[in-house]
Symmetry: C2
Subunit: 351 residues, 2 copies
């Protein structure tokens, strides 16, 4: 993990290495929460969730409102676990897949916290976390909240067809998670806190995939680009990490990512895991190529990755969230699918 | 302009006063650019634009592509004016009104710059500028680009009805600008550079306006909330500023804002201007209650406000961009319109 520091770490909390922002006094993750729906409750990570609903409507009239309610529960649990009040949060960064990011906007109606909306499709959690880390390390906030969500039923009718239509799914199609994940990022990691030690914002890549049911294929080049740059900028390799988690390439995109990185001389074998493949049991749960959606990586992070770092089962991990940046309009207009991948490096508490 | 500094400004470039992030070594605006369409070319600010198109399709097949092309021209002009290359930009923050922010995502396909998408509807420019200032002041970037856009024809068919339908406009309806505005924010203002001296991120407010053709009314409470807090946090008043620019309340929202702030003992008279009322001549251009759209405030900033600060015609100004955070889905579901307002304080170059 070499690299030339470009600033005096005794004065500055941030150094930059290419596209990587590395924190010399890293922000901490004071708390996190994961909330999920029925399929998530039936999946292998259920035990890691803070709250699971068996009815995906959560008592609301619409799927869209249900997604906001998922988020509300997630923020409430996060604040509870952090023993903090809304008034102690300086800034919330969040977004979702609904057009105009309404799930998140409507959630923050009921929360008196400064709110900056972000959008990176399924890359949103890493984007929000990366920004939260840069802002807290830089003094713009002491405590920043990062959150994203998705809802299977809201996403299906927005991006594909309403559920009642009963459209057939292709084998490459991924299953949008019904879930929300949130983290509280603090300016400087305290004892026992998982540390956010680096962040890298991705560049948009488009290898001309036009198939809206093959998001994994569309997003793999963006993940490869961000990882390739990160390993080069930081003079490190997958072997330096206990896990390199993508969110969410599914089985098709994961294979493509391995191929693309192998061609660059980077071997992910034994290190790579995909949030979309962890959240569900593909054999028994019929989730196609795997899970996806902004809430997939966010909830897997909170339910699975962060607990492993907190307890020392992992020392260091990368989370690379990938977003497919198209809309139904651009797909109908014959456009291909641009994608972006943002990355955060997570490190176990100082021992 | 009192307030208790919470950190030693010789070490830190950022102090926080309530919701305000104040920069003790303020970032600079190295360059800016504004690009517009036909109606903007016919308006009173035309001379301030860098580029104006008489055909709003810009040679593209769709309105959506045309908006990306507006943005591309805007970035190219910005880089030219800053004498910078894309490789010298550490991070771009941008978004737009299209569902899933596709105008911006498709623009950044063609630009090899790390890209973090933001969404705040018509508040996006102040949000992007505020984040860019926090990130550069905090060391996460040396040069950050902030950009937003809107396109009348793309917005009409997305939020209201396709143009060909010929729907009648209500008197409270605003006219979505066809325009893009971009700024290059640098870590520390150089000689002669306009300074971004403070930023404040807003809280979501919803006073139960459900009329999608009265955005000004829906957004005024958010602007009032952000301004009220800013003046209190910084112990200052509108009289400390040569201009308090909102973007974009139009005539209806502007009246509401004045009333809401008067009730709080804050007098905007003689200071308040609205970007939506500056961009067009309402009498001759039939723009209803005034201009709006993420590109309205962004292009008025670049075409009108920043030049006045650069040349010293103004010493200090506030830009408060307001965003209505609904979608057509939430409106059809009978939801009211939540809104947010983000603020940046802009100061003339050091003399």
């Amino acid at each position: 993990m070499g690299g030339d520091l470009v600033a005096d770490p005794s004065v500055t909390a941030v150094v930059r290495l290419g596209d990587t922002v590395r924190f010399t006094r890293p922000p901490g993750l004071a708390a996190w929460a994961a909330v999920g729906g029925k399929k998530e409750a039936d999946g292998p990570l259920a035990a890691g969730f803070d709250l699971l609903f068996t009815d995906n409507r959560l008592g609301e009239e619409t799927w869209e409102q249900a997604e906001s309610t998922l988020q509300r529960h997630c923020v409430e649990l996060l604040l509870q676990k952090a023993d903090a009040s809304a008034a102690q949060i300086d800034l919330a960064l969040g977004g979702d897949l609904q057009s105009q990011c309404t799930a998140t906007a409507y959630t923050f109606r009921g929360l008196d916290i400064p709110f900056a909306g972000v959008y990176g499709a399924c890359s949103t959690m890493a984007e929000a976390l990366g920004l939260a880390a840069c802002l807290t390390a830089g003094g713009a906030a002491d405590r920043a909240l990062a959150m994203t969500s998705s809802h299977f039923c809201a996403a299906e009718r927005q991006f594909r067809t309403p559920l009642n239509y009963g459209g057939k799914r292709t084998p490459t199609a991924q299953w949008t998670a019904t879930g929300a994940g949130a983290c509280l990022v603090t300016a400087q990691a305290g004892p026992g806190q998982v540390r956010l030690t680096a962040a890298a914002f991705g560049r948009v890549r488009d290898l001309s995939v036009k198939d809206g049911t093959n998001m994994g294929g569309a997003m793999a080049p963006a993940a490869a680009e961000t990882l390739r740059r990160f390993f080069a900028d930081n003079r490190c390799s997958p072997a330096d990490y206990d896990g390199v988690y993508t969110g969410d390439l599914g089985v098709v995109g994961s294979e493509m990512l391995a191929q693309l990185l192998t061609a660059e001389g980077i071997d992910l074998a034994g290190r790579h895991k995909d949030c979309g493949l962890l959240l569900y049991d593909r054999e028994t749960q019929q989730t196609g190529a795997g899970g996806s959606g902004a809430g997939c990586a966010a909830s897997v992070l909170a339910a699975h990755i962060l607990p492993a770092l907190k307890t020392g089962r992992m020392r260091r991990a990368l989370l690379v969230c990938t977003g497919a940046l198209m809309s139904t309009t651009t797909l109908l207009q014959g456009e291909s699918i641009p994608a972006v991948a943002h990355l955060v490096e997570l490190t176990a508490p100082e021992s």
